[in-house]
């Protein structure tokens, strides 16, 4: 039996006719964008109806991105912690080092096959979706412009460098909070301006319909694979953990287990530095988010009573987002997903533990899920299994992690290199 899911999810997550999942979703965009969205809905419908499309998608992920990604046990960590065993789904091993590549390849094939537009735009937070988009654009011959909050450009400069090397134009967005939401606004503005020739490669399960459904469909490969892998080993997880920025890696892995009601699905949000406004990005856990409509969709947002979006914070650029997927919001409301938060400190500690004891360098984003599992495992019996989606690798976070750990020789090294580059 192949681990690669050769068929798409049997029951894809699809919204109602208005693009709603329960109380959340929709497509709240300027009218100018409606034809593009309708065209995209149609392309997505066509893709879903054509088994060859999914096969091409999976084949490309297999040959270009090394799917299936493995599931890795953490014997040392489990021994240290006691309690439930923790397993990782290794999205960090994919091309570009994160789950983002799945969605991007899917949209790339869709654009090439159906939309036939020569230009792509994308927003990016941690830079991972931007790098993935730049990668796909280079490979499929699209022009690409990536919008990235100016603050994230600072936090994730190596990713900016690689995007540019792959031929993408990176635009630092200086508006608003200068993070992911502002990059999404900027991308939407670009799209509204260049409706004819441009496809917007949205990077997560947010934004106007059909993006949430479509990105969820592409990311289902993670969950379908993981479910097949665990089933092949005769393992049934008691819970599945994933970090939630927009929600794509979470929805991706959850789809393997949605129908198994005794598998708990835990979405872990950025607890940041505390519970105050601007100190975290927890929209679900702790009830920080309230219903609203922004960035093209209705969901829970961190906003004030007037509907103005608030500042957010996370040590992980990719979780530092003001809204959350309508699909996640709906599943949380229906009790199918439990939301938790992990603080910056817990996350840096989880990174440290995984590096030190298992030799794996996790992304700060993914380490939120790991931190929550680390918290939970000791309280559970050893015959339980927790599956954690390791959505990305941490190489990109060297500047943040080195800063958080106060690595002096790294600081000296940077000073020297900076001097060399100025001198040379």
């Amino acid at each position: 039996m192949s681990i690669l899911p050769l068929a798409p999810p049997a029951a894809p997550l699809l919204p109602d006719a208005r693009g709603y999942f329960g109380a959340y979703g929709g497509a709240y965009v300027p009218e100018i964008l409606v034809p593009n969205l309708l065209e995209l809905v149609q392309a997505f419908d066509t893709a879903r109806g054509d088994p060859a499309f999914w096969r091409e998608y999976i084949q490309e992920l297999a040959t270009f991105s090394g799917r299936p990604t493995p599931i890795t046990a953490l014997p040392n960590l489990s021994k240290m912690l006691g309690g439930a065993r923790i397993l990782l789904k290794r999205e960090d091993l994919g091309q570009t080092g994160a789950h983002k590549i799945n969605n991007v390849i899917g949209q790339g094939i869709l654009t090439r096959r159906f939309l036939k537009k020569p230009r792509l735009i994308a927003e990016t937070g941690a830079g991972q979706h931007g790098v993935a988009t730049a990668t796909m654009a280079a490979r499929y011959g699209f022009d690409a412009t990536i919008y990235m909050g100016a603050e994230d450009v600072e936090r994730q400069r190596p990713n900016v460098f690689w995007m540019e090397r792959m031929g993408a134009k990176v635009v630092a967005v200086e508006d608003g909070a200068r993070t992911l939401k502002d990059a999404i606004n900027a991308a939407l503005r670009d799209w509204a301006t260049n409706v004819q020739d441009t496809h917007y490669v949205l990077g997560t399960v947010c934004g106007p319909h059909p993006f949430p459904a479509m990105v969820a469909w592409f990311q289902s490969v993670v969950g379908l694979e993981a479910a097949a892998q665990l089933a092949a080993d005769g393992v049934k997880p008691s819970a599945v953990y994933a970090c939630v920025g927009g929600g794509s890696n979470a929805i991706g892995i959850f789809q393997g287990f949605l129908a198994q009601n005794d598998v708990e699905l835990v979405g872990v949000e950025a607890g940041g530095k505390g519970f105050g406004v601007g100190e975290h990005a927890a929209r679900l856990a702790g009830g920080g988010g309230t219903p609203g409509i922004a960035q093209g969709y209705e969901s829970l947002f961190l906003q004030n009573a007037d509907g103005q979006m608030q500042e957010t914070h996370s040590v992980a650029a990719g979780l530092d987002y003001v809204g959350v997927s309508p699909i996640i919001a709906d599943l949380a409301q229906r009790g199918r997903i439990r939301a938790e938060r992990a603080s910056d400190l817990e996350v840096v500690e989880a990174v440290r533990l995984l590096m030190k004891h298992e030799g794996i360098i996790p992304a700060l984003e993914s380490s939120h899920a790991l931190a929550a599992a680390i918290r939970a495992a000791p309280k559970l019996s050893p015959d339980k299994t927790l599956l954690v989606n390791l959505s990305g690798r941490g190489d990109k976070d060297i500047f943040t992690v080195a800063g958080a750990l106060g690595d002096a020789s790294w600081g000296r090294f940077l000073a020297k290199k900076a001097q060399e580059m100025q001198g040379g």
């Binding site: 301006t193 922004a294 906003q303």
Partner: protein
């Protein structure tokens, strides 16, 4: 001998209490004095996805200065009282309305003196509840129609208009507010296609910056909507520049051809 060119009305725009609560009131007075017939007051929003750099920065600046929903409605109320001959519309994004509540917003806006509201991010398929609230308050939810809207969708948008108001806001080009003008060959047929479908008054915005733009709309639209260009004139030369900017447009709107 040519027919005398019909006049075109002017429609202006301000962001509530921007650059300050005193100055915006003076700007409204200038517009009223120069014969601007319709004024949009924008309630600032943190995510103004349809606005270009000038309005984007102004939205954020206003919010940073503490402008909120209450202050915006206060401005509306005072302006409507001070300038009874001007029609006032609110402009904002759907979340501001949604957070207030569809009915409450429509009722409060109407009571404060607005004829209707312009919401660039509320497509009509999702406007059912708000349209009902508007109807109940006899308040307009002004449709925005971009140039790529055609066929059945254009029919539907135009059919909607009379339900809620007598004004349609046609968008001259793709993109956001404040970007370059693009009054191409397609503008006239586009506006005509709306006229054919709706008896509503027709405003055209996005890229109307110069007297010649205004003049070009005579006979094609009922209102020329001028936003970014006016704010930029103010930024360059304060109230004096603002006044002469509007005076120039007003001349173009009604001078003999």
């Amino acid at each position: 001998m040519a027919e005398p060119l019909p006049k075109v009305g002017l429609m202006g725009h301000v962001i509530a209490d921007y650059p300050s609560s005193a100055e915006v009131r003076r700007m409204i007075a200038v517009m009223a004095a120069e014969g601007v017939a319709v004024i949009e007051i924008q309630i600032p929003f943190s995510e103004p996805m349809a606005d270009g750099p000038t309005f984007l920065a102004a939205n954020h600046q206003a919010l940073a200065q503490g402008v909120d929903y209450a202050a915006s409605l206060l401005l509306l109320r005072e302006a409507a009282t001070a300038h009874p001959k001007v029609q006032f519309y609110l402009m904002t994004y759907v979340n501001v309305v949604y957070k207030r509540g569809w009915q409450r917003f429509a009722a409060e806006a109407k009571a404060s003196g607005a004829v209707g509201v312009i919401l660039p991010d509320l497509p009509f398929e999702l406007a059912f509840a708000f349209d009902e609230a508007c109807a109940a308050s006899k308040f307009a939810n002004v449709p925005l129609i971009p140039p790529n809207c055609a066929g059945a969708r254009l029919d539907a948008l135009c059919r909607r208009a009379p339900l809620s108001t007598d004004l349609i806001y046609a968008v001259a080009r793709a993109g956001v507010t404040g970007a370059a003008s693009a009054f191409g060959q397609n503008l006239a047929p586009f506006l005509r296609s709306i006229r054919e479908r709706s008896p509503a008054r027709l405003a055209l915005g996005f890229g109307v910056k110069l007297p010649e733009h205004v003049k070009a709309l005579r006979g094609l639209a009922d209102f020329a909507v001028v936003g970014t260009a006016a704010l930029e004139a103010h930024a360059r030369g304060g109230l004096a520049a603002y006044t002469s900017f509007w005076r120039g447009l007003a001349a173009a709107a009604k001078a003999p051809a």
